[in-house]
């Protein structure tokens, strides 16, 4: 907990800034659109329908969709922009809807009076319609504000800094204090924003200047607080830091800290980590230069880049294929770390011993009555196809769930088998037995340190530092480090520091 608190103001400010920008954009688009909709109710019906439909898209999917959408038009596709865009889309409906309703429910006699006293259409809008609709519009903004702040926690997987950092990271490393911190901070921000807009709304409704002023000042202060850290960052005018990416699981958190620490020690360039990114998000980021380095696995890359999931002739051959494919995207393999992190099918040791299960092939007889749990990706991946056809496995049910919940599900018997990760410390922590892939159905999954074009071209010292990591982490070491986080509750940073200290000796 204590190590989390110093970073809280930064993440809270980033979270707030992201939410406020999305909300402001939402207001700037929705209010005029809502006014138009109230004037042309028939033409507006499809617009409102589209906004409603967008609202029903799960928010995480909407944010994630922004990544390929932005990449397709050549815009920065990971980080702040896709998150802000997704949140903006999400904020549209309540404001749009309330503006249209607020405008449409103004008494006809008041509009006739406005015309009768000689107002032009613009004067009528400014002096009569907007002031009368304002409380309803503000109520819509209030709803949108709470949604936006809440949904902004989901900005983490697309690479934007937000309070979701604590929640996603905490879920993966079973750090419940971090999860609580993230949730509580997001809730506090949402309540604060809700209260301030509520103050405005009440002030406008009761025509109390004091309340309006208090609400406006509060919002202004909040906006200022949110934009201060980035502004200070600009003033410091640092060189662009080297960015280390990480996918959302413990091993990646530890490795990204090790890589970052190694880079910081070897070069004068500051580094920063961008964590809990989706698989394709992080690779796209590397290719486009928004991320400079991250750790990926041969099997994953071979499937993603080459569409190959067949057995490779050898580990070396698979690595050569991948290396060549990466080179075409301008990505360099800086080092092979020395371990494989492959999927393994695992089940509780007691169960495995009772049924005499040791190899994957032994599962064939049990599978039709069993449920298998896997992460979100596995069942969509060609490796799953290879695994099931090679061993003739047909499970009664396949359940996707968050990797952090898989092991618990296996322990409680909610699923009978899980597709775990071979270096996961939780295999030991939960006393699970991995089954041997004796027919080598799964391709090799050696961990590679990938370096992007900018790092290779501009930071030769950094590349050398990454190369120095080659062969320095074996599977046992990796599993120990994962367990230190997952079982012993150490922070990924502390585990990485210990490793680097050892490495330096």
């Amino acid at each position: 907990m204590n190590e989390l608190l110093p970073t809280l103001p930064d993440y809270a400010a980033a979270h707030l800034q992201l939410s406020l920008v999305a909300l402001l954009a939402g207001v700037l688009v929705s209010v005029p659109l809502g006014i138009w909709a109230s004037r042309h109710p028939r033409a507006a019906r499809p617009v409102l329908a589209v906004a409603s439909a967008l609202q029903t898209v799960p928010s995480l999917a909407l944010l994630a969709f922004m990544v390929p959408a932005l990449a397709a038009v050549g815009a920065p596709s990971i980080g702040w922009l896709p998150a802000a865009l997704g949140l903006f889309v999400y904020s549209l409906l309540p404001i749009l809807h309330n503006t249209a309703v607020g405008m449409a429910t103004i008494d006809a006699s008041i509009l006739e009076a406005a015309d009768g006293v000689g107002m032009t259409a613009g004067e009528r809008l400014r002096r009569v319609e907007l002031p009368l609709a304002l409380p309803v519009i503000l109520a819509g903004i209030r709803t949108a504000a709470v949604w936006t702040v809440g949904t902004a926690t989901l900005a983490t997987p697309v690479g934007a800094r937000s309070l979701g950092y604590y929640i996603f990271g905490g879920l993966q490393t079973r750090n419940y204090a971090a999860i609580l911190l993230g949730c509580a901070a997001a809730a506090a921000l949402a309540l604060l924003l809700d209260a301030l807009v509520g103050l405005l709304e009440r002030g406008v409704r009761r025509r109390r200047r004091g309340l309006v002023r208090a609400g406006a000042l509060g919002l202004l202060a909040l906006a200022l607080a949110a934009s201060l850290p980035p502004l200070l960052g600009l003033l410091r005018a640092e060189a662009r830091p080297l960015v280390v990416g990480a996918k959302p699981f413990t091993e990646q958190y530890v490795l990204s800290r090790i890589v970052a620490g190694q880079l910081e020690r070897a070069t004068a360039t500051p580094t920063t980590t961008l964590e809990s990114l989706g698989s394709t998000v992080v690779f796209d980021g590397l290719r486009s230069g928004e991320i400079d380095v991250y750790v990926d696995y041969v099997g994953t890359l071979r499937a993603m880049l080459l569409g190959r999931t067949d057995r490779a002739a050898s580990r070396a051959a698979a690595l050569a294929e991948v290396r060549e494919a990466l080179a075409r995207d301008g990505v360099t393999v800086a080092a092979t770390l020395g371990f494989e992190n492959t999927y393994v099918l695992a089940l509780p040791r007691a169960q495995a011993e009772a049924l005499g299960l040791a190899r994957i092939g032994d599962l064939a007889g049990h599978a039709p009555g069993w449920t298998i749990g896997g992460d979100y990706e596995l069942f969509h991946r060609p490796e799953w196809q290879a695994l099931t056809t090679t061993y003739g496995l047909r499970f009664a049910e396949q359940r996707s769930m968050d990797p952090s919940l898989l092991y618990e599900a296996a322990r409680t018997g909610e699923v009978q088998v899980i597709a775990a990760y071979s270096t996961d410390g939780r295999l030991d922590a939960y006393d699970l037995t991995p089954l041997v892939d004796d027919r080598a159905a799964l391709p090799p999954y050696d961990a590679l340190v990938l370096a992007g074009p900018r790092l290779v071209a501009e930071h030769p010292a950094a590349l050398a530092a990454l190369q120095a990591l080659a062969g320095r982490i074996d599977a046992a070491a990796m599993r120990r480090m994962n367990a230190a986080v997952d079982r012993d509750g150490q922070s990924p940073a502390a585990v990485a520091d210990a490793f680097l200290a050892e490495l330096a000796q």
Binding site: D107, S109, I110, L111, E112, A113, A114, D115, G116, V117, G118, M119, T120, E123, R127, V128, P131, L132, R207
Partner: protein, 255 residues
């Protein structure tokens, strides 16, 4: 001062008014009298272009109303209607001062004008200036609506059943107040009502409308003596018969 020539307004297949020709002399009060659906309100609204005629010509002070944009025309013509439409988010003073502020009058002149008008409609400025419209009685609200219509010193006033929703006593007071103001300012007024008694009490002349057409125009006395048809006759004799019946009841019940 005001002239309608062969004015016609249709909404799709429905004809609201047809062949309406009327003249109102300067300083005259013309009543448009008719039941609901007779077209009296439509005819009235063509004068300040709240309704644009399908055909025909409308002029105010000798000028075709189409030479001015609608909003600018309406700033010069006072307009009061039954549902008032006081702006609920403005004080009484802001409501009254709205047209002058649209015209860009300086603050001090607007303030002075508001006080003057409140006094004219017999409301104490100190007491009513900062009130919300919601805190006014029906009669008070109607006085404020009249004051708002008069604010920019119009020469012409259009009133659409302005006192229709008031109790008879209050209506009487307001009718008297309006006649005072009219005499003081020399206003030209077109007054829409369905109430024959009100028409007879206020109107210099009365235009009887039915089914979108003007049936007859004349003073109350002319209408009574030479009615255009049986319906006009009935219209004019009805109040006398009612008064006679009421009087008979009163005398019969005397001890």
């Amino acid at each position: 001062m005001i002239a309608l020539e062969q004015v016609r307004k249709t909404y799709g297949a429905v004809t609201a008014i047809a062949d309406v020709s009327l003249e109102v002399a300067e300083g005259e009060l013309l009543v448009l009298l008719g039941g609901s659906g007779s077209g009296k309100t439509t005819a009235l609204k063509t004068i300040n272009r709240l309704v644009e005629p399908t055909s025909g010509r409308v002029s105010v002070a000798g000028e075709d109303v189409r030479t001015l944009p609608g909003p600018l025309l309406r700033r010069r013509v006072g307009y009061v209607f039954q549902r008032l439409g006081l702006f609920p988010h403005m004080t009484v003073a802001e409501n009254i001062g709205v047209t002058p502020s649209l015209l860009g009058w300086p603050r001090a002149r607007i303030d002075a004008r508001v006080d003057e008008l409140l006094a004219m409609v017999e409301l104490d400025p100190a007491e009513f200036r900062e009130r919300d419209p919601a805190a006014l009685s029906g009669g008070q609200a109607q006085r404020v609506a009249v004051a708002r219509a008069l604010a920019a010193e119009p020469r012409v006033m259009l009133l659409d059943e302005p006192f229709g929703a008031l109790d008879p006593r209050t209506r009487g007071h307001l009718q008297a107040a309006l006649m005072n103001i009219r005499a003081r300012l020399g206003l030209t007024i077109v007054f829409v009502t369905h109430d024959v008694v009100e028409a007879l009490l206020l109107g210099d002349r009365i235009a009887v409308m039915r089914a979108g057409r003007v049936v007859q125009v004349g003073s109350g006395r002319e209408l009574a003596h030479t009615p255009a048809d049986a319906e006009v006759r009935a219209l004019l004799t009805e109040p006398l018969e009612l008064a006679a019946a009421a009087r008979a009841r009163l005398l019969a019940e005397a001890p």
